[in-house]
């Protein structure tokens, strides 16, 4: 894939100030996204995986410009999103759309299906009512809803159907990039497959590019071409889905994969100790060291660099990158003894 990337993120940082504390005290910050760079190519599905608080949603929000980054750039279609003026920004951004996790709160209960799906067209303007209706009917068919549903309200629909409406709204303006923020995790299990299949079909049909955010590695595996694993705002591992599943190199990815309760394979499981630490003032070195079964002295203070270990497979772990001679002399390569 040597094409031009559709969206490119360069060294993105997003910090949030923590509320509370006295006015004269130093403000604390949540480091939600820290030094993330990536490129997404047209037509692919890019997965961002991690647990709650890992910054995956913040990253997605920064991509679409809903959150202003504290550092770094988001370049969408060769335009730096945050240096554009207001009108250009809006115009550029409307080529990116989002599908939300909770279909119950993502549809305005006061809008009919027609109003919901045609809202983006209405905002852009230049459509007659007839055109809009035509297009909405087309979209309804595309996402597997009935024409009769046109003038019904969200409360009449089940979770899965609501999500279909959400998808129809997102694709109504023919966007290039669709960001799916946990599109199935709020739905009933038996509906998951429907929605995922619909997304896959739409991608083929409309030549969409997806950014697929999920906490569930199993879902991501079938859908995504490449995966980015995040933990506490940092990239842990990054590469093609095949490579990562065949050979997870980072201990965290390994744990995530083994946490999937697979029906078929009864494999040895690594269960991580401890909890996800608070994103306020995260660990200085490797952000994962407190829970890492292989943590070494050096992991505490020195952040692990993101290294390309295979072609298109990046890992940030000291176990792979190792330490230099001086550091080894100082005993930084010693395993931290964890009292079991």
């Amino acid at each position: 894939m040597s094409k031009n990337p559709i969206i490119k993120i360069e060294n993105l940082y997003v910090d949030f100030p923590v509320k509370g504390g006295l006015p004269f005290q130093k403000k604390k910050h949540i480091s939600a996204v820290s030094d993330v760079s990536l490129e997404i190519y047209p037509g692919e599905t890019f997965g961002i995986v991690g647990e709650s608080g890992c910054g995956k949603s913040t990253l997605a929000n920064a991509m679409v410009g809903m959150v202003k980054p504290t550092g770094g750039k988001v370049i969408f279609k060769d335009k730096d999103l945050f240096s554009l003026n207001r009108t250009d920004f809006k115009k550029t951004r409307s080529d990116m759309q989002m599908i939300f996790q909770d279909p119950f709160s993502s549809l305005n209960p006061r809008f009919s299906v027609f109003q919901l799906i045609s809202e983006p067209m209405f905002i852009r303007g230049g459509f007659t009512k007839k055109e809009m209706e035509q297009r909405v009917l087309e979209l309804l068919k595309l996402v597997g809803l009935d024409e009769k549903d046109l003038h019904r309200y969200p409360s009449d629909f089940s979770g899965g159907q609501k999500q279909r409406i959400g998808i129809a709204r997102a694709i109504s303006l023919n966007p290039d990039l669709l960001i799916c923020d946990e599109p199935v995790s709020a739905l009933d299990v038996s509906v998951h497959a429907q929605i995922l299949n619909l997304l896959i079909d739409l991608q083929e049909h409309l030549k969409l590019t997806y950014v697929f955010i999920s906490h569930n590695l199993a879902v991501v595996k079938n859908v995504c071409d490449r995966i980015l694993v995040m933990y506490l705002g940092k990239v842990m591992e990054f590469g093609s889905t095949k490579a990562i599943y065949k050979n997870p190199l980072h201990p965290y990815t390994n744990a995530l994969i083994s946490a999937i309760l697979d029906l078929d394979i009864k494999r040895e499981k690594t269960i991580l100790k401890g909890d996800i630490p608070s994103p306020i003032d995260p660990p200085k070195g490797c952000r994962f060291w407190q829970r890492c079964p292989y943590a070494m002295e050096g992991c505490i203070d020195i952040p692990a660099p993101l290294l390309e270990v295979e072609e298109n497979h990046f890992v940030a772990c000291h176990k792979l990158s190792g330490f230099n001679e001086e550091q080894i002399k100082n005993g930084l390569d010693k395993r931290i003894n964890k009292d079991e």
């Binding site: 990116m96 993502s106 305005n108 006061r110 809008f111 809202e119 983006p120 905002i123 997102a170």
Partner: protein, 333 residues
């Protein structure tokens, strides 16, 4: 021409909206009472001169002071001035309703605008508005009203003004917290992503989202304001020339109604206040039920349980009974 058409359509739409809304209230038994009462009060207030049998301001010509209720004077006359109490009661509707409605609507406007600004714009504007709210909350309203009337003279204009200045704070707070919820909802986010301007989001999502709460609050504020107006008039802070129920009560007290046992002189304005406040309260409460069905559902369920037909329930239960078959594997179907 086109603009005019658009404006007219907007007005028509909102009128239809209000109509639908009133219909919703009308469906509730409680709401019906409220609506009927409000309509009645409005009728009385507008046609007061036609309904009232006497001129309530007339203190000169009547020698008959302190009359007991009779067919001529339905509620008797005042002891000290000989005014017709029934006519005063009819005219009192005007002040009560006018002050209540004007204040209520003004508060709704101010509270909604400031609440939405605080919630939606956020940042400095939010900070400023919320600090003002905090300050308003600690200033005692009634004493300040007294001070202001002392400074600028007594009139209903001043009273309405102070009510509005102090009344918006509560509403703004409620609206603000709802706006914060709406603002962070995914559908607003989706709208923003599609390029929706602030204006679009404000008018299409936020304002309709708070409208129910706004109307409910306005009804309840109207009720509260009418009580407060009666209190201020009772203290003699209203327009000294106007006739209001609160002032009637004060006159009854000072005029010796208590002493001479003219209880109707006290009861009549009291009932006036009661009916007016009650009507608006009812509408407000029905709105609250529509907004917040969980709280009222309880009594409905209990009533339902009382009326439920036991044999029907038994039938439902029995209908679920079924045989369980036992077979060997492979012999199925």
């Amino acid at each position: 021409m086109k603009v005019l058409k658009k404006v007219l359509r907007k007005i028509l739409n909102s009128l239809i909206g209000i109509g639908l809304f009133i219909g919703k209230i009308w469906k509730h038994k409680k709401g019906k009472i409220g609506l009927i009462l409000v309509a009645l009060l409005a009728f009385v207030a507008i046609f007061a001169p036609l309904i009232a049998p006497f001129d309530p301001y007339d203190v000169t010509e009547r020698a008959a002071k302190g009359l007991s209720p009779s067919w001529e004077h339905l509620l008797g006359t005042t002891i000290n001035t000989g005014q017709d109490i029934f006519s005063m009661l009819i005219y009192g509707t005007r002040v009560s309703l006018l002050v209540g409605l004007v204040t209520g609507i003004a508060i709704a406007f101010l509270g909604a605008i400031l609440g939405i600004i605080a919630g939606y714009v956020g940042g400095m504007a939010d900070n400023l508005i919320m600090r003002i709210v905090d300050i308003m909350l600690v200033i005692p309203t009634l004493p300040l009203t007294i001070v202001i009337t002392n400074l600028f003279g007594k009139s209903y204009f001043i009273i309405v003004f102070i009510f509005v200045i102090f009344g918006w704070t509560g509403l703004a707070r409620v609206i603000r917290s709802l706006v914060l919820v709406l603002k962070n909802s995914n559908y607003v986010k989706a709208s923003e992503l599609a390029g929706g301007s602030r204006w679009h989001i404000m008018t299409k999502h936020i304002l309709p989202g708070v409208s129910h709460l706004l109307i409910m609050n306005t009804a309840l504020t109207c009720a509260g304001i009418m009580v407060a107006e009666a209190g201020l008039s009772f203290l003699g802070l209203g327009d000294p020339t106007a006739i209001s129920w609160g002032k009637m009560l004060a006159e009854a007290q000072s005029g010796g109604a208590l002493l001479f046992g003219h209880w109707w002189w006290i009861i009549a304005p009291g009932i006036g206040i009661f009916i007016a406040v009650f009507a608006f309260m009812r509408i407000g409460l029905v709105m609250e039920e529509i907004l917040n069905p969980r709280m009222k559902a309880s009594s409905g369920i209990f009533k339902l349980f009382k009326t439920l037909n036991n044999t029907y329930i038994q039938e439902v239960f029995d209908g679920m009974n079924e045989e369980v078959l036992t077979t060997k594997e492979g012999e199925i179907s």
